[in-house]
Symmetry: C2
Subunit: 367 residues, 2 copies
């Protein structure tokens, strides 16, 4: 893969990747307007409509022609494969609800604030994805005995950290062979929208979204660890600028609440009428099943009712009736998964602003 080092203008304000106490930058605003979150009221739906599902697009959305597009599977394999979209659709199909979340969800709430895509809380969504499992395809190609990773490369290209590269991520052979890892071509029963990777994307259920490479054009079996920017530099848990840190993989347990009542346009602060109020939302984890959800009312935690999961890799609905009394109240929610992980109530900071699953805070005025 050729890498061109590109001169970049110095940003007038904060530098990308470097945490700051400073104000939000114009660059962060631009990213926020392009890469949209899921409005929290969309937690109402089991399956998120495509236009409300969160989107993170590192570079530009490429315009790919389904007719000329091919997926190439090559590298350390016994025989390379080149597949058309029809070839892939002719293979056994699986449809599965999967919750995807951006690893940077919650980043803008950290202090100091890592400067990158400035998510608040809505970088999540659950879709019904249709595709074909990856493992049988790898078995057809026949991985060489010294293959250690699969590198997944998209059609999107750009510059990050001064390096020009198409977007690419890798999985170990063992990770790629998991039965739930799929090549998907449909979302909620329709062809993949172009912003979600048309014609084909990888789907790695349970992992943060960066693993599910969009606009997939090649899968390459490699005999040494892939060191591309998105794999070796971005997406690490770090305490400072120096690595190596811990690579980001599975989604940390999180719950979110639909803010009750009505909003103020500008502040999004809530006003609720006194009396019984149904609080509800969703909870999910990539480290096991969600075992418990608790709602905090002014600091007192109470268990919520949790519905059955939609699927092995999809969120669970939770609900609780709160009898709201007039005045100012602070609502929170937190989930625990079967690995024993519980959402923290204070920030657990890291340098890239990854995996901030601190319990949501919803301030309400009851009248």
């Amino acid at each position: 893969m050729s890498k061109h080092h590109v001169k970049q203008r110095a940003s007038k304000a904060a530098n990308p990747g470097q945490p700051t106490q400073g104000p939000l930058t114009h660059e962060e605003l631009q990213l926020s307007g392009r890469n949209h979150s899921m409005p929290l009221e969309a937690l109402h739906d089991d399956i998120t409509p495509a236009g409300l599902h969160y989107l993170l697009i590192h570079f530009d959305i490429p315009h790919v022609s389904a007719e000329t597009w091919r997926l190439r599977l090559s590298g350390a394999v016994n025989r390379s494969l080149e597949l058309s979209l029809e070839d892939i659709k002719a293979r056994p199909a699986v449809t599965m609800p999967v919750t995807l979340e951006c690893a940077g969800n919650g980043r803008s709430l950290l202090q100091p604030r890592p400067v990158s895509q400035p998510w608040v809380l809505g970088a999540v969504g659950t879709a019904e994805w249709t595709g074909t499992p990856l493992a049988p395809l790898l078995e057809e190609a026949g991985l060489a005995s010294d293959a250690v990773e699969l590198v997944f490369t998209g059609a999107d290209n750009g510059i990050q950290g001064g390096v020009e590269e198409p977007y690419a991520r890798s999985l170990s052979v063992a990770e790629a062979m998991h039965p739930e890892v799929m090549l998907v071509y449909a979302m909620n029963g329709n062809p993949l929208p172009k912003q979600h990777g048309f014609p084909l994307r990888l789907l790695v259920p349970g992992w943060y979204g960066m693993a599910s490479v969009k606009w997939l054009t090649s899968i390459e079996a490699v005999t040494s660890r892939f060191m591309g920017f998105q794999q070796a530099v971005a997406y690490h848990y770090l305490q400072g600028p120096d690595g190596p840190g811990i690579p980001v993989s599975h989604i940390r347990v999180r719950s979110l609440m639909i803010p009750p009542g009505i909003p103020d346009f500008y502040t999004r602060r809530r006003v609720v009428d006194a009396g019984p109020v149904m609080l509800h939302g969703r909870a999910w984890s990539g480290h096991g099943d969600v075992e418990r959800v608790e709602v905090g009312i002014d600091g007192e935690w109470m268990p919520a009712h949790v519905d059955p999961p939609l699927g092995d890799f999809a969120w669970r609905r939770w609900s609780m009736v709160w009898v709201a009394s007039p005045g100012e109240h602070v609502l929170r929610c937190r989930a625990m998964d079967t690995s024993g992980a519980l959402q923290p109530t204070e920030q657990v900071w890291n340098y890239q602003g990854i995996g901030n699953n601190m319990a949501q805070v919803v301030e309400v005025t009851v009248r």
Copy 2:
């Protein structure tokens, strides 16, 4: 309509509606993450996919059941009507490509910056809308001779400027009777997505998006001017906090360019390879047809080729080949419409940050 005046917390930073030289606020970031723009590379498509079309949702997206939903047409009419979605779909149907743009598009580029939804440039989109013309329905109901306006009210409710109101806007009888004004229930051949107003929205082609009321529940003929917040306070061209100002209506002429080459992730700055580069984009106006598009290369303006319009109220594609030479360049584009209006190259400031159609600036590094 009952109005509750609601106590609001003082924002720590800038106040909504008041221009500032200060930093972007957390509240602006929240709005930007909810209300997404169209990524500029989507100017590639004649018709914007629903998930890429810009969205401005003042309050929360309401969850409306199509079964129980009814549209009530009442007030100063000879006979009130109550219509189901099936009743409306049984009426004569029209499908039309219409470009919608938010009146606040470009707001965040103004100095000082009016504090509200902080659009950069992508608050636009063109969809194929299907619905039934409004005028025959008004004729069936029979407007009273003293009716002066129609008030269109949505199912979405919240607080803005300290006032609690459902979202509502009015049109004069003459404006509402225009043949292109429609009640629409489909977008790009599918039922209206919930974020675009399911099950029914008003569509006022040629006007900024605030007129096309979503989640429409009632149309009321009134005998005096409607003074709701969204009509009488918001959406005015003003030079300071004191009114009355000029009500906002039709879309000002604008052109936008797909930024060429590849982006840097954080700055979105472009890198282009030297040689011939196809520059292209779209241009539109609510004040007449687009007559001319010019591209500025380092301050020198040249005419672009302009394709035929998609429809009377939809954008036109434009294109120009630029022979890019190595170095730093500033690209701009500007359109002129048949009313003689030309996009300005410097900001024309107003207090609410409305209709900022200043010519786009795209900085590129050619290598």
